[in-house]
């Protein structure tokens, strides 16, 4: 099922967690073949604990599959070394997590600047670019705030802006609204839709029905396998 238009592709992807000393092994993914179109708005849904986050982490190169392949732009990241994977992450992928994951001792602006530094943006150019992105998520007035001085919704908007820092093609989001009240949720969703319109490939793991309803491509993960591939 080689799809030439796919920016992300997985082949027979398996992940088995074996927890330290205990012989308990969790078969989180049992062979997932997935193809995510370039520029699309894709959602991954499914019951809790069935492997959604695991799938997203493998796609983003945050973890290695037990077996199978992950292609990003036809590069098999499952065979790359740590440093090469880091380069792919820095240049092609932006992450947004449920728990925001901002660096707590850095201001909103500095969180963006740090991501830019890691993506190789020159120190001089960081500030104006970062301010532009904060503007985009409506937080230019909060640039010098620390994460704990921001509301959950604001933190998630900073985190979305940060994910855009190195202008990646792909945005991977794991329950971006899972930890927000409904007001903030609406706000964050607006920004996510806006970003998709700017031409990014967006992949979101979500329990949110509004969000899932807007998906151009919907994937259901159940018991570690793809239940439905529209």
């Amino acid at each position: 099922m080689a799809d030439t238009n796919a920016i992300i592709r997985t082949e027979a992807l398996q992940k088995v967690y074996s927890n330290g000393k205990s012989a308990v092994r969790t078969h989180a993914l049992r062979g997932v073949d997935l193809s995510i179109p370039r520029g699309g708005f894709s959602c991954i849904v499914g019951p809790s604990g069935h492997g959604k986050s695991t799938l997203l982490q493998l796609i983003g190169g945050l973890d290695r599959p037990t077996s199978g392949n992950v292609y990003i732009d036809d590069i098999n990241i499952a065979t790359l070394n740590r440093n090469k994977i880091a380069e792919v992450r820095a240049s092609k992928i932006g992450f947004v997590f449920q728990f925001f994951n901002l660096l707590p001792n850095l201001t909103a602006l500095e969180n963006l600047q740090t991501a830019m530094m890691l993506g190789g943006v020159k120190a001089k150019e960081q500030r104006s670019k970062a301010m532009e992105l904060l503007e985009l998520v409506g937080l230019s007035d909060k640039a010098s705030f620390l994460p704990n001085q921001l509301s959950g919704g604001q933190q998630q908007r900073v985190s979305i802006a940060r994910a855009l820092s190195n202008d990646p093609e792909i945005l991977l989001m794991d329950e971006p609204t899972g930890n927000l009240d409904s007001e903030s949720e609406k706000d964050v969703l607006e920004h996510i839709f806006a970003i998709h319109k700017r031409g990014k490939t967006v992949v979101i793991v979500t329990h949110n029905d509004t969000l899932a309803a807007r998906a151009e491509h919907l994937f259901v993960i159940k018991d570690g396998v793809l239940a439905k591939n529209p």
């Binding site: 945050l62 380069e87 992450r89 992928i93 992450f95 997590f97 001792n105 991501a115």
Partner: protein
């Protein structure tokens, strides 16, 4: 944002922990610097004072041990176990110039310290001694006769005890002698002594016909072995030590003292290094999640490694620089205490730490190396974390 700024931000996050870790390495390096500074100055001082003895060698009782020889260099009192006759016998040998010394201690009131302090007092043959050392006066006058009942003092006695020409000094209970002059600086222990004619000293201290040791030189040092034999034949119970031999033994003792002190400084440094390791390990543990975030943002392992090594290295840089300052200041405070403490061998010495650029640079570099080494293991641990380990448990 750049790596250094990021590291500085991380370094200062836990102010208390930063301070205590920094204090550890600062104290370690300060001990190191203070000991080296004082040790180096002791060496210079002892060497200078030995050469200021003027002669080529000293003649001491044959059972005088090395520790007591130090007393000759530092101006300590040495028991008067040589007979005056031995001096006369040696003085009679052709080609040898010899000076007898009788050394004792006396107490002088130090107005700055508010207490009586012991200083060496020495009896010498006025005319011969002045000729031997080439002494000049900075104030007052020199002895006019071989048995004038008066004293002259060294420059540092005048400064330390605020003694002036015309003052009377209590040599021993019931006996006071007038200060008639102050010597020009000699750079030797004579600066820290009270001088009087040996005949007066023998009478005052009830040691008629005795002396403590002699300093001497020969006209031709190449014939020293020859002279040595003549001296040993002429006098009984004497031992001859050249200044080089004496200096050698003293420096050896000093060396072992220094070595012990350096071991202490070494232990302080090892403790400081473990302090850094501990702090960095804690930081790595606390920031597991942030390390994962950095990796998710595209940070390579070596960037993570570098940030932690840099953070650790900064402790060494700051600790080294602070340690140098604290070390020098404390050596300035300690040196006079060492010099004035009446039981130490360096009594009367004018010790003061001199700032040595090479020592400063070496110390900071050393501190940096220790701290970077201390950071390697924690940094390696940090760089080995995988992003998922760090992030997944929300």
């Amino acid at each position: 944002m750049n790596i250094l700024k990021l590291v500085a931000r991380n370094l200062l996050r836990r102010k208390g922990r930063f301070m205590f870790t920094l204090l550890g390495i600062t104290i370690g390096m300060a001990a190191f610097v203070a000991l080296l500074a004082i040790g180096g100055n002791m060496r210079n001082e002892v060497t200078a004072q030995t050469y200021a003895l003027g002669g080529g060698f000293v003649i001491v009782p044959d059972d005088l041990c090395v520790y007591n020889q130090i007393g000759i260099i530092t101006g300590e009192a040495i028991s008067e176990r040589l007979a005056y006759g031995e001096y006369e016998a040696i003085a009679a040998i052709d080609g040898i110039t010899v000076i007898p010394h009788l050394t004792r201690r006396m107490m002088i009131y130090n107005p700055t310290a508010g207490e009586n302090q012991a200083v060496p007092v020495t009896g010498q043959l006025p005319a011969e001694t002045q000729a031997f050392y080439g002494w000049e006066m900075s104030e007052g006058r020199y002895f006019e006769s071989q048995d004038e009942e008066a004293v002259i003092i060294g420059q540092s006695i005048k400064n330390r005890f605020k003694v002036e020409v015309g003052d009377k000094l209590p040599i021993k209970s019931g006996i006071e002698l007038e200060v008639i002059g102050v010597l020009k600086v000699t750079d030797g222990n004579d600066d820290a002594m009270v001088h009087m004619p040996i005949s007066v000293a023998q009478r005052v201290f009830d040691r008629e016909d005795s002396l403590s040791y002699m300093t001497a030189r020969v006209d031709d040092m190449r014939k020293f072995d020859d002279y040595q034999e003549q001296m040993l034949n002429a006098a009984n119970n004497i031992k001859i030590a050249t200044n080089e031999q004496m200096l050698g033994s003293v420096l050896m003792i000093l060396g072992s003292v220094e070595f012990t002190l350096q071991m202490v400084a070494g232990v302080a440094l090892v403790a400081a290094a473990f302090g850094i390791i501990n702090t960095m390990m804690t930081a790595v543990y606390e920031r597991r999640r942030e390390i994962g975030i950095m990796q998710a943002l595209g940070s390579k392992s070596r960037t993570i490694f570098a940030t932690f090594v840099l953070e650790s290295g900064l402790y060494g840089l700051f600790g080294g620089a602070l340690g140098v300052c604290v070390g020098y200041v404390s050596s300035l405070v300690i040196a006079p205490m060492v010099a004035e403490h009446s039981e130490t061998m360096l009594k009367g010495m004018e010790l003061g730490a001199k700032v040595d650029v090479q020592l400063v640079v070496t110390t900071i570099a050393f501190s940096l190396i220790i701290s970077v080494l201390s950071g390697l293991y924690p940094a390696w641990k940090a760089s080995k974390l995988t992003p998922v380990e760090a992030i997944s448990n929300g």
